[in-house]
Symmetry: C2
Subunit: 297 residues, 2 copies
C-alpha cells in the first residue's frame, strides 16, 4: 500500500485518503534534499527528475520550480490588477516567497508584509527554491514570523488596513485549518480598506470537492458583498488545477474585468498572467457554475 | 520501478517515459474488468474506487465515467456550435461512443458516421461504459469498422464531404500515429465542405510538450486558413488538461465566438459546455500563447 508522503522505488507519491481518495500524483525523485519535521509540519524538499526542486508540506506538493509561476502569478495579480491602486499588501503564508516576488512587480505597491508561521519554510526556500525566494531582501518587503490569525487580530487592534490581502496558506489541515472558516474571513474584511480585495487559495477544485467550494463560497458571501471563484492550472496540484476565492469589500469592484492592465514592461515579466486569462479564469464548466452560484439551468 | 500500465498493490499508474517522463497519475483499482490485447492495442478496463469505470489503451487513460463529459462535450460542441448548420458529421476514432452521444444532441445533425479501427473498443464501451456508448443505436448514426486514414482516402475518391469532422484518436503511438501528420490534415481538408470545421485532440497540453503543439499548429496552419489551439480540463488526463486543435476551411469562420448558442433545452443536457467556456478555452497563459502563436511580447 502507498502511504502519504511516501517515497518508494525513487518516486514520491502524493496521496490523501481524506481530500482526494483513490488518486495520486507521482513525481520521480532524483535526490532528497531535506526531510524533517519543523515545529509545525512535515517538510520535504526533493529534486525531481523533470519538475526541478519540489517543496512538500505534510505530504502535499506546495510548489515545483517548473510550474510554480502559474499559481504565484494568478493569486497575486488577479487582486492586484483588479485594484485601482494597491499600496499596502499583506501576504499570509507563502513563506516560499513566490507571491512576494510577484507583488513587488507592481511599482504602485509601497509595502508588502509577509506573515509566515514557519521560519523553516523561508529558510528552505532561500536555499532550494532561490527563484521563488528572490525578493526577500527587497526594500518594500517586511517579514513577520507569527500566526496569521493572531496577526490579523492585532491588526484590528492597531486599526491597520491593507489594499490587498493574499492568503497563500497550505491546505486546511495542520497549521492552516482555521484559514477556511468564517471568523478568518471576518478578520480579513476588517483588515481591508474600503476598496480592498482579498484572495485565498480554496485548497480544492471543482473536480475534487465541489461541495466544499460551494460551502466556502457561502461562507465568504456572508461576509463580503462580492465574492467569486476562479482557478489556475498547475500540473502538479491535484487534478491539475487549484481554486481561488476572491472577495471585495466594496460592491462596486469588478473582480472579473481588471481595472488596471499590465504595462508592456510589466507584461514582459509575466509568464502566465495576462488580462484575458484573468477574466477567463472565472469562467466555469456548466455543472460547476450551477453548483457554486446556484443559477437556474 | 513502476512500469507503464502496471497495476501494483491495487493501484493503476499511468507512465510514459517518452511522453511525460518523471510523472505519473495513479488511480485506485477496485476490480480489473477486462485486460487483453486486441488486434491493434493493449486494452484494459478497470473499476476504480473513485472515478467509476476506466478505459485504458496502450497504458494511457482514455476515459473515466466521472470526468469523461469534459472531453466529449468540448471536442464535440466547439466545432458544432462554431458551424452555422452542421448536417453531416464524421467522427474518426472515438469507439467508446462518447463523442457520438454529444453529436446527436444537435437536432440539425442529419447523419453522424463513426470510423473506428478497433471493434473491441466499441464492444467494451457498450458493456462497461454504457453511458458513453448510449447512442450507438441512434437512427442518425452509422459505424464503419476501418482505418480512419483509409476511410478519408476513399471519401476523397467518392467526393463525399462533411460539415464537421472530429478526430477522437488515441495518442500518436500505436494505431493513431499517422493522425498527427500533414498528410492526415490534408485528407481532412479535402473531406470538408467549404464552410467545414475539423477538431482533433492534440495528445499533449502546453505544460507537457509545448514544442510538439507548436509544431502541430505549424502543420495545420500550412493546410487550413484558420487554426486555433484550445483545451479542456480533465483531471485524469496527464497534467489535468488536454489540448484540442480546431481548424476551418473558410477563413471567415469564427472559431472562438460560436455562431450558434445552445437552446435552453440543449443547454439543460450539457454538464460542461456553455458559450462562455467555449471562448475561454482558447485563452492561454502568456508563455503558451507566445510560443504557439509567435506573438511579440
Amino acid at each position: 500500500m502507498m502511504k502519504s508522503s511516501q517515497i518508494r522505488d525513487g518516486w514520491f507519491t502524493e496521496l490523501s485518503e481524506k481530500n482526494f481518495p483513490g488518486q495520486g500524483l507521482s513525481l520521480k525523485v532524483e535526490e532528497v534534499l531535506y526531510h524533517s519535521k519543523s515545529e509545525f509540519q512535515d517538510v520535504l524538499v526533493f529534486k525531481s527528475s523533470t519538475y526541478g526542486n519540489v517543496l512538500v508540506l505534510d505530504g502535499i506538493i506546495q510548489a515545483t520550480e517548473r510550474d510554480e509561476f502559474a499559481y504565484q502569478e494568478m493569486i497575486a495579480h488577479i487582486p492586484l490588477y483588479a485594484h485601482k491602486k494597491p499600496r499596502n499588501v499583506l501576504v499570509i503564508g507563502g513563506g516560499d516567497g513566490g507571491v512576494l516576488r510577484e507583488v513587488v512587480k507592481h511599482s504602485c505597491v509601497e509595502s508588502a508584509t509577509l506573515v509566515e508561521i514557519d521560519e523553516m519554510v523561508i529558510k528552505l526556500a532561500k536555499k532550494y527554491l532561490p527563484r521563488m525566494a528572490s525578493s526577500f531582501d527587497h526594500p518594500k518587503i517586511q517579514v513577520k514570523l507569527c500566526d496569521g490569525f493572531q496577526f490579523l487580530r492585532d491588526t484590528a487592534l492597531r486599526g491597520q488596513r491593507y489594499d490587498v490581502i493574499i492568503t497563500d496558506s497550505s491546505d486546511p489541515e495542520g497549521p492552516a485549518e482555521a484559514f477556511f472558516q468564517k471568523e478568518y474571513f471576518e478578520l480579513l474584511h476588517n483588515a481591508l480598506n474600503d476598496d480592498g480585495i482579498v484572495i485565498a487559495q480554496a485548497s480544492e477544485n471543482v473536480w475534487l470537492n465541489i461541495k466544499y467550494i460551494q460551502d466556502l463560497m457561502c461562507t465568504v458571501r456572508s461576509v463580503f458583498p462580492r465574492s467569486q471563484y476562479c482557478y489556475t492550472t498547475v500540473p502538479t496540484y491535484t487534478s491539475g488545477q487549484l481554486g481561488l476565492v476572491v472577495c471585495s469589500k466594496s460592491s462596486s469592484t469588478d473582480l472579473i474585468y481588471p481595472i488596471r492592465k499590465p504595462t508592456d514592461e510589466e507584461q514582459s515579466k509575466l509568464l502566465y498572467y495576462n488580462t484575458r486569462i484573468h477574466s477567463a479564469s472565472f469562467v466555469l464548466p456548466t455543472w460547476a457554475k450551477l453548483t457554486i452560484d446556484g443559477e437556474q439551468k
